[in-house]
């Protein structure tokens, strides 16, 4: 690709633009959460965690489905670029799933009186976290880059199978977790709450794309280091 290639210029400018957009949108989202959205009648102020807990859950699901695409692409073609996408998405999925699992109990303690309960949605989300953590560990400790990519891809596909189970857990097992979005029924949210949630979803989408672009760039640089070391005949290259 030529140095002046517009695609390359856009790719170089993208993280900066995304960072600027996120930095501008984030205070707006916080303002809406604390100043615009009304208190929920039953739960009061603590319900406001919902505005970031739900987008974090959406970002987790998005990460896992992008991970599925990367994993399937790698197993099908064995091309490094698919593995980079899968590697990046695994880490992002783990990050956002951790945020979901931490903010959930912070809401649950005042709402339910307990930090954690072995309720279906919570348990299946914990299983997703464990699968993503296992994938990150397997990638770190595998004997070769090829094995790391293959095992990571298989675990990624298993993790993706858990997402529909999490989504339907309340319907299937009648758990305690609130179900705000049911297909075919209007969302029980006041317009101010709906607007706030939409802006928070946008902010998390920006964050998600920013982190994904940066993590893929890092993975590409790490692969370049490995290639250079391989050229130099360094035994370190067998490590992922």
């Amino acid at each position: 690709m030529a140095a002046g290639d517009p695609v390359r210029r856009i790719a170089r400018a993208l993280p900066g633009c995304l960072l600027a957009a996120t930095a501008l949108a984030m205070p707006g989202a916080l303002g809406l959460v604390f100043l615009y959205a009304p208190d929920e009648k039953v739960m009061g102020a603590v319900q406001r965690i919902f505005y970031f807990h739900v987008p974090a859950a959406m970002a987790t699901f998005a990460s896992v489905y992008v991970l599925l695409a990367g994993a399937a692409g790698y197993l099908w073609t064995r091309e490094e670029r698919w593995d980079r996408l899968a590697r990046a998405s695994t880490e992002l999925g783990l990050l956002f799933c951790t945020l979901v699992l931490v903010t959930g109990p912070i809401w649950a303690k005042p709402a339910w009186g307990v930090w954690w309960t072995w309720e279906a949605k919570l348990t299946t989300t914990l299983i997703l976290w464990l699968l993503l953590a296992a994938s990150v560990l397997v990638r770190s400790y595998a004997d070769s880059r090829e094995l790391a990519a293959r095992l990571g891809a298989v675990l990624g596909i298993v993790a993706a199978l858990d997402v529909p189970i999490i989504y339907k857990a309340v319907d299937w097992w009648r758990g305690q977790h609130p179900q705000i979005f049911r297909p075919g029924s209007p969302a029980p949210l006041a317009p101010e709450m709906k607007h706030t949630l939409l802006v928070c979803l946008l902010v998390f989408a920006l964050f998600y794309v920013l982190l994904l672009v940066l993590r893929i760039r890092l993975a590409a640089l790490e692969d370049r280091v490995a290639a250079l070391l391989e050229r130099a005949g360094d035994p370190e290259v067998t490590a992922p």
Partner: protein, 59 residues
């Protein structure tokens, strides 16, 4: 008031998590870019000297 304490910690956890990961990525990208520059200059210096790349070990 107790609800606000939970809310405060909830939001802190979210932003600390995201900002910490963003910082980690930016720092790591800088470190790996520097390492690539060092490796490339070492490789090109060795090529110019007529030695096989990596003959002097890693940088």
């Amino acid at each position: 008031m107790k609800s606000y304490a939970f809310l405060f910690w909830g939001y802190n956890v979210i932003w600390l998590g995201i900002v910490a990961y963003l910082t980690f990525l930016l720092v790591r990208i800088r470190q790996v870019s520097r390492r690539i520059a060092r490796l490339e200059s070492a490789c090109s210096a060795e090529s110019a000297a007529g030695r096989p790349a990596g003959a002097s070990g890693r940088s």
